[in-house]
Amino acid sequence: MDMNAYLSMFIDESQDHLQALNENLLKLEGDPNDLSIVQVIFRSAHTLKGMSATMGFEDLASLTHEMENVLDLVRNGKLAMDAFIFDVLFKGLDALESMVADITAGGQGKADVGSIVGALKSIVDGSYLTRTETAAAAVAAPAGPSAAIDEFQLSVLKQSMDSGLKALRIDVSLEESCVLKAARAYMVFNLLEEKGEVVKSIPSVTELEQEQFDRSFTVIFVTEHDAKGLEEAVGGISEVAAARAEELDAGTLERLARPEPAAKPAAGAAAPSAPAAKPAEPSAAGEARKPAGGAPAASRTIRVDIERLDALMNLFSELLIDRSRLEQLSSEIGRGELTETVEHLSRISGDLQNIVLKLRMVPVDTVFNRFPRMIRDLARSLDKKVELIVTGADTELDRTVIDEIGDPLVHLLRNSLDHGLETTEGRLQAGKPETGTIWLRAYHSGNHVFIEVEEDGRGINSDKVKAKAVENGVLSPEEAARLTVDEMNNLIFAPGFSTADQISDISGRGVGLDVVRSKILSLGGNVSVESKAGVGSKFSIQLPLTLSIITAMLVKLGSEKYAVPLTSIVETGIVKREAILTVHGNRMLSYRNAVIPVVSLSRVLGAPDYREDDEEESEYIVIRKGDKWAAVIVDDFIGQSDIVLKSMGAYLGQTPAVSGATILGDGQVALIIDPNALFK
């Protein structure tokens, strides 16, 4: 039998099952006595085992089989879940995921799962209770000495390399006689901090600080300096026996990142004695409780290749252009029957447009569903207690946006957990509940979707941000003095900004928030932060519903036509010339009890045949970005229209003040204005 035909089905379904296993295991961790969840987990594992065996993936099947044995005991009440069993099961899941990923990439799904299988067997025969230590060590062993980095750190490293920095791996060993190892390690980090960014350290910084390391440690480091110089500098610190720096290329990084899922644990697993911290109790907010007992409600769906949807979308865009052309022609010809038919066509294509756009909508849950697990693992490695509350996971977004939004959200969540939330002691001292809370919310509002990451941590110290901004030359002391608290907090999105005092291998330490912002901006969205010292911070991301068809206001500048996205227009109006005031050389307009700056579109775009100075009255559009407002003067309004976004091609790339192009009903190309670029 030719298995290839079934391979893609197998991959899709096993990913669904793995996701279900992950979710339910997390749920079970929150409520270890709920045997109905165990039933669901058991069924998923069983199906997965059967599928893998049929497809001939023996390793996958045998690992699932061992996990199933453990679950069977739990299901029949012969075994009570404890922290160790959870850890081993999660590790098993990680291994399964990496095997399926290998199969997806064309491999055979082979992996050395001996240690995990051993741990699972020891659970089944009960011997693990007596030799917890060794079993845990065995599980942790694959982490080995190699400097495994996770996907997030990989992306940080790659970004740095793209911007011309070097990624180095530095092995440092201290002299045997060294007494204050932590202090020496601190000196090394201090030195490295001056020269670049530490992305990752092995063992972790916390362990280094507590002297929980033998004489040597390894750091992954991003810098503009060369390896030789750094070697000498680090070697120059007293009691450092040797320092060896080696430049990493993209290939090595990939290899370091690849074996990750099986090898990651180290920190979490090595301490099974830690009181069963239950970091990520699945959202107590009842909505996450899907029908736990029965099989997942079967909805009648089919899987469709995303490329076909894209093709459908493109064809529909063509249709839309012809529709506007027809509308224009029929109004010129003015024959009743023709006009009627064209109007009917317009209505139908309007409905069709809604359906086509809806087809591409995907619930944000497809991105959110991996976060509970990520938060759980992170919280463990940071030794913090945290609860993640997810709401609005069913909010839908365009597929293209969904694909891009994952990384920025991972970044914000890590940031919240690492920098935002205090340590457990810190929280108790501040009189807060021991367990921190992170809210992840998604909701619709108008033509936008909002995603918020909020935490009840220490909040942003805006004075520190200000001091840092002045120090880094982001703005002058005079400018800084004029900023509001919110404006100051938003400075953390400036490139190369970090206020983290201590090194940590979790967050990018300032390499990142500007990357988050540029990513969101490139999606046509916006990100901002609100924070209150001591109470917490809230990051809000605003995203457009769709990226392919938008409603726009068409405007004229002499002979040229431009489109302004309707979503950024607050209102339109006409103003007499003498009503435009000049304040300190800036032209302003009084608008609803406020005075807002006037922007001349013709001047910004250098329009060849229109000057608003020649006119007695000017049409204007009020646009808004956050709390900034502006009145944009145009020649004339043409009207509203649904337009199809088109790229202007690779040759022109990014052009200022223009976000793209569209084709109008008369076949002409009109440029789409990027309103955000009109604010100074």
Partner: protein
Amino acid sequence: MAEDIKVIVFSLGEEEYGIEVDKVKTVERLMPITRVPKTPAFVKGVVNLRGVVVPVIDLRGRFGLAETEQTEATRIIVVSSGEMEVGFIVDRANDVTDISSDQIELPPEVVGGIQAKYLRGVAKTDGGRLLVMLNLSEVLNKSELVQLEQMEA
């Protein structure tokens, strides 16, 4: 081993130029061009090429030659190189001809006022015509576009 290359022949002023046929997507008559603000002067704007938005540049301007009036004979030659698709405005598109790759000789320093780096060489056809072969990747070099923008800014 010499191999035959099919080239599209076009002219700028008196000079004749060639671009390999497989790099050319289409040759079009002049059509309405939408100006794109804040781009170098030789970037004339974008056109609607059967539903695709394609940037158009004036090849004379690109080479630093004086731009001329557009006439009935003016054509847009749409070339694609890598991910880029760009239309060239030329004075006239003439015909398609075969040249042999060993007929291409290295260009002299400057041909008809065009710097050598934009040229692949000069080819002699069997009919005795001289064709200047363009080096597309250099003509479409974007870093230069950025530099020009900065100079004009």
